[in-house]
């Protein structure tokens, strides 16, 4: 067995333990697993949307989503009945941007989140199932007041500290995107559509209900995305078990390919399931949703 190479730290990530995956703080607090998955996935999408509106680079956004995902795992992680997913999303993005070359101000973050979480104007399907209005609505409905800003800023700072404490200040996230580009070059892939599709898979996998970013190393994610992209674009890669060159075995590759392909179906099911009501991203809404489900069960 080759010993782990400590020099590869910058290419690898801390991974969730099986216990952290099966025992989340939210599940201990009685949040149904499927609800937790829905909220986590919606929170990841919220982070992505906010990052785009803030003009943050995709690597910063992706790192924020990974930190957001890690936060909820394990009995020592955050519980959806104690912390609002929207606050954790905002703080994760703020924290990641702060450490990047493109820091952003609390005010920008909070303005964007206020807009995205507005039930009247939000373009996000899981916040505003009716969809963004055609006519631009009055700006009062989504502009943060000064008082609202001050109190939201305090929450942002507090949740930032909570995230840091929960993750022992380990903000390191290695991403598969640049690794994938190197692999594509190594494999001599000349078709740009393959590269584009690879990156698309890697970005979509950020929302994976299997939490692939916190269970697999970035090199494996990169290899699986390339494998899938090449198949979809009908690009013939080299013969032989090329993934082994990139230190991924067949079994892991197979698992990841299945996982990545299932993300689309999962998303469709989510949109279908939450067609009529928003996904709860605030503690009170989570409590209400759990009560609602309880009442429905008792009604039966």
């Amino acid at each position: 067995m080759t010993p782990a190479n400590p020099g590869l730290k910058h290419l690898s990530n801390a991974l969730a333990t099986p216990d952290q995956l099966s025992n989340t703080s939210s599940s201990i607090d009685g949040v149904p697993t499927d609800l937790e998955t829905s909220i986590r996935c919606a929170g990841a999408q919220l982070t992505q949307a906010a990052g785009i509106l803030l003009h943050l680079p995709q690597d910063t956004i992706a790192q924020a989503i990974v930190i957001f995902t890690r936060f909820w795992l394990g009995a020592d992680g955050g519980s959806l009945r104690i912390y609002s997913a929207k606050d954790v999303s905002a703080a994760a993005l703020f924290l990641t941007a702060k450490l990047s070359f493109n820091p952003t101000s609390p005010r920008s973050i909070l303005n964007v989140y206020n807009f995205l979480l507005s039930q009247e104007v939000s373009p996000l399907w899981f916040v505003n199932p009716r969809g963004a209005p055609r006519e631009p609505p009055p700006s009062e409905s989504y502009i943060l007041t000064e008082g609202g800003y001050q109190s939201a800023r305090l929450v942002l700072m507090r949740i930032e500290s909570v995230i840091l404490r929960t993750l022992s200040f380990d903000t390191h996230v290695a991403l598969p995107h640049t690794i994938a580009l190197t692999y594509l070059q190594t494999l001599g892939v000349t078709k740009s559509a393959v590269a584009r599709r690879t990156v698309e898979h890697l970005n979509a996998t950020l929302f994976s209900p299997q939490l692939l970013y916190v269970t697999h190393q970035p090199n494996a994610l990169a290899v699986a995305a390339i494998y899938l992209a090449a198949r979809e674009e009908e690009f013939k890669l080299v013969d032989g078990e090329w993934w082994e060159v990139f230190d991924v075995d067949r079994e892991e590759l197979g698992f990841l390919v299945v996982g990545m392909r299932s993300t689309e179906g999962f998303m469709r099911a989510e949109v279908e399931q939450w067609r009529n009501r928003p996904i709860p991203l605030v503690i009170d809404q989570v409590d209400a949703e759990i009560d609602r489900r309880q009442n429905m069960r008792e009604g039966e």
Binding site: A4, I28, S161, T215
Partner: protein, 466 residues
Amino acid sequence: MSAAKSRWADDDPEADALIAQRKREKEEKRRAKAEKQRQQEEASKATAEAQTRNGDSGPPKKRRRLSNDPDAPDAAEEAKSEEQKKVSSLLRFPVAEWGPCRHVDNFERLNHIEEGSYGWVSRAKDINTGEVVALKRLKLESSPDGFPVTGLREIQTLMEARHPNVVYLREVVMGTKMDDVFLVMDFFEHDLKTLLDEMREPFLPSEIKTLLLQVVGGLEFLHSQWIMHRDLKTSNLLMNNRGEIKLADFGMARYYGDPPPNLTQLVVTLWYRSPELLLGATKYGTEIDMWSIGCIFGELLTKEPLLQGKNEVDQVSKIFALTGPPNSQIWPGFRSLPNAKSLRLPSSSAPSGGGLPLLPRSRFPYLTNAGLNLLSGLLALNPVSRPTAQECLAHPYFKEDPRPKPKEMFPTFPSKAGMERRRPRHTPVAPKRGQEAPQLDFAGVFGGAQGGDSGEAGAGFALRLG
């Protein structure tokens, strides 16, 4: 990766039972929050046990399936060894996990070591293991932007910079209040500054080489990881009694990139600050660390800080007094630096013909030619002329006699940090983040020597702010 597989190999009833049992434990734990700390240790112990158990039954799924196959034991055996061979050809990544911060009460504070500009440090004992560590409390003044980015960068860069010559950050622990944050690091008996102060004679040439090689080796690693230290000085170099020296205090460190991001010029303690920073350069690189290495080299040779300026203007004049004034031949473009406009240079500075100008030999009488050549390179005014850390390590100075002294032959010294309070510092401190970068008027740098254009007696150093 077999580790990943064993992580998933929980499909047997025993593991399910284990998980269920642990789940019950966790629920109990939530009820008895007062006992949280103790329970946490138990839980982590259980995880560790589970891991070793997994390790014992460690082989990946595939192998287990094969060995369960009763019909073909030989083939299974063969496939097993083949599988193992295959697995071993794949690179393993370090498998790290995450968990919440521990509480600072897990450490018993022994004595205070020092108070720097970025927090105070004390010697402490891990109550569970008995190990002695250094505990550094981060200064977290309430900032409108949340957790201070300097503290985050210090933790981030230290966590990434795992190298024998970089101080080892063990973990980050928290106090009861949210803004009590402590870094737990390996304890070192000395810092180089205090050691040099206490020593009667400077280090021997062979010892200087050993120390310098380690410091530059650590720095070379940092630069290869795109980290700039930005506050190298003798008080930030920690030493133990085994001849080992490590870079510490990453309060100014940060990642840089290509193209470089916007950087503050308010970095590096004055005496170790490079001329381009003093002249107000906003774009700079790892060369600023190499200048500091040159200052440290000089300090090792003479036991005294090389360039002890009283302020920025005085620092610049001390530098030029040592190196000679800049001219457009040795440093093209220095004139366009913000603070260079006011610089009036003596007209007599005739450009010397070709090559890097050497520092005056009289200042370092015992240094060999190769040593003077290295020092002159590190203290080159033009950042481009300074050697990189990598080039520095390959310099002939380290290959000529006397050779670097083996670490184990190093003398030992009584430890100030381990026993008693330090003498108060008299070195300047690193610049504070958020300060305004001063607009400096260097008109006075050569004012005294030149005369003529200023009638004022004393030709003091005018520091014009704003």
